[in-house]
């Protein structure tokens, strides 16, 4: 008689187990992720209006990571600069070119162990190339802090060292 009651009981258990195995694999053991904008790394409309241009509207030339200062940067260019950088191995940007290096501090990616992502927007550096009668003018400007404030600027017929460092960067291959 015991068998009669045990067998259905064990079947019921097996069914329960099956249901559990085939059921949803809800991630209830871990803290949920927030589907947020990376606000600290973002550029507000108020801040960008105080800059020579908003580089986040531009396209990418290349990027870099500096482990020593724990920062990551993206080099952007306006249309003239992009057209040049993607089709020339030289670094003589034509007049009208504007490029900008945006630098962020970095942090661990909360969504993936193995990645680091932008944390706070740290600085934006601009280089503009302008044609004046008889000469070319290179303008370098650096903005830092929160809110961003101009901390360096330079204008000359030849690029300053800081400007040249930006102009020299090789475009990343985008086939």
């Amino acid at each position: 008689m015991m068998c009669n009651s045990l067998i259905p009981a064990s079947f019921a258990f097996a069914l329960l187990a099956s249901a559990a195995f085939s059921g949803c694999s809800s991630n209830n053991r871990v803290a949920p992720l927030a589907a947020t904008i990376n606000e600290n790394a973002s550029l507000s409309a108020a801040e960008s209006s105080a800059l020579p241009a908003n580089p986040l509207k531009w396209r990418i030339i290349t990027s870099s990571i500096d482990p020593q200062s724990s920062t990551m940067s993206t080099l952007y260019g306006n249309d003239i600069a992009i057209r040049y950088a993607r089709s020339n191995t030289n670094h003589d940007y034509p007049p009208g070119s504007q490029i900008a290096l945006v630098t962020w501090t970095r942090r661990d990616d909360p969504r993936y162990f193995g990645a680091k992502i932008p944390d706070h927007l740290k600085s934006i550096e601009f280089v503009s190339v302008d044609e004046l009668p008889g000469e070319t003018k290179f303008t370098y400007e650096k903005f830092e802090g929160s809110p961003l404030a101009k901390t360096a600027s330079d204008e000359s017929a030849t690029p300053s060292q800081s400007a040249q460092a930006l102009l020299n960067q090789r475009a990343a291959v985008l086939p």
Partner: protein, 311 residues
């Protein structure tokens, strides 16, 4: 009434009894290239992963009754196909490491070990302390690259510049998705440094994605939103700064909640190498994409936390 109930139960019981004889085997093939790591790391994998992800599967009594057995068997065979620690030594080192990083990701999101499995096998639970042990181990096998030669990257760059800004029209992905040739003109929304595989990445968004970011409509993302994630091999210069070296791949997520309802509401595609070879043997390659993105149900299956300010 009672008689009908009794009959139903009886028929059900007989059926259950009958199917007990449909018992396909689940052999443990030989252990040929077992996972090698520190003992404390291996111990965690042995007690939490090996029962499905190895050739050392040990079933317990309640795994045997049908239909539980069918499901358990199915899970084990599927798990071994995905990653088998008894044979992992056969894979190239980079692929072994990638499997371990995916593992820690699945664990960190509570997707692995499968919660229902843990409910029946409490010893398989991975504690926060275990996670730290695994993470420290992964960091120890992922050292930063020293200064690296740039020959291959430079050669690729020269060739790319020489062919100008010609639009690429590679073969479509095996699931039929055509290459979004204009991706390089989309706007950056974030970047990542991947110390797990020494790649440097940029994530670009099309206009619909940029508008969604501006309006903070990103969970779910609107139909049409598309991301391109570009990966280059890291090139570390003498100044210790890491820059994009060789182009490695570009991969896409294309939001269409109806068309791609079966794959988390996103279309997936990836092209590798400067010659843009479509990734995947057949359309089933998307299982890989979906398997890794599925645990991110909180963020509409997106890894990128977008930066705002492009408008």
């Amino acid at each position: 009434m009672f008689r009908l109930l009794f009959r139903t139960v009886a028929v059900f019981a007989v059926l259950l009894l009958a199917i007990q004889f449909v018992h396909p085997s689940l052999p443990n093939p030989p252990v040929t290239a077992d996972f090698q790591a520190l003992p404390e790391v291996k111990q965690i994998l042995k007690s939490s992963c090996y029962n499905c992800h190895s050739n050392e599967t040990k079933l317990v009594w309640f795994d045997y009754p049908i239909p539980a057995y069918w499901i358990v068997r199915d899970h084990v065979l599927e798990a071994r196909k995905h990653i088998n620690f008894s044979e992992i030594g056969r894979l190239p080192a980079a692929q072994q490491k990638a499997a371990l990083y995916e593992g820690i990701f699945q664990i960190s999101r509570g997707a692995m070990p499968i919660p229902a499995y843990v409910a029946f096998h409490p010893d398989a639970k991975i504690s926060e302390q275990d996670v730290t042990v695994l993470e420290n181990y992964l960091v120890s096998i992922s050292p930063a690259q020293k200064s690296t030669p740039d020959d291959a990257g430079a050669a690729q760059y020269e060739k790319w510049i020489a062919t100008g800004n010609e639009t690429s029209h590679p073969q479509a992905a095996p699931n039929g998705i055509a290459f979004p040739s204009d991706y390089k003109n989309w706007k950056p929304i974030s970047s990542t440094e991947r110390f797990d595989n020494n790649t440097i990445r940029q994530i670009l968004g099309n206009d619909i994605a940029i508008k969604a970011i501006a309006e903070n409509q990103i969970n779910p993302w609107p139909d049409g939103a598309t991301f391109a994630k570009i990966a280059w091999l890291e090139q570390t210069g003498p100044d210790a700064v890491i820059r994009p070296g060789e182009f490695f791949q570009v991969e896409f997520m294309i939001r269409d909640s109806q068309k791609y309802a079966n794959t988390l509401g996103w279309g997936w595609a990836r092209w590798r190498g400067a010659d843009l070879k479509p990734y995947g043997k057949d359309a089933n390659f998307v299982d890989e994409c979906v398997g890794c993105h599925r645990p991110l149900d909180d963020t509409n299956y997106v890894f990128t936390e977008p930066v705002r300010g492009q408008q």
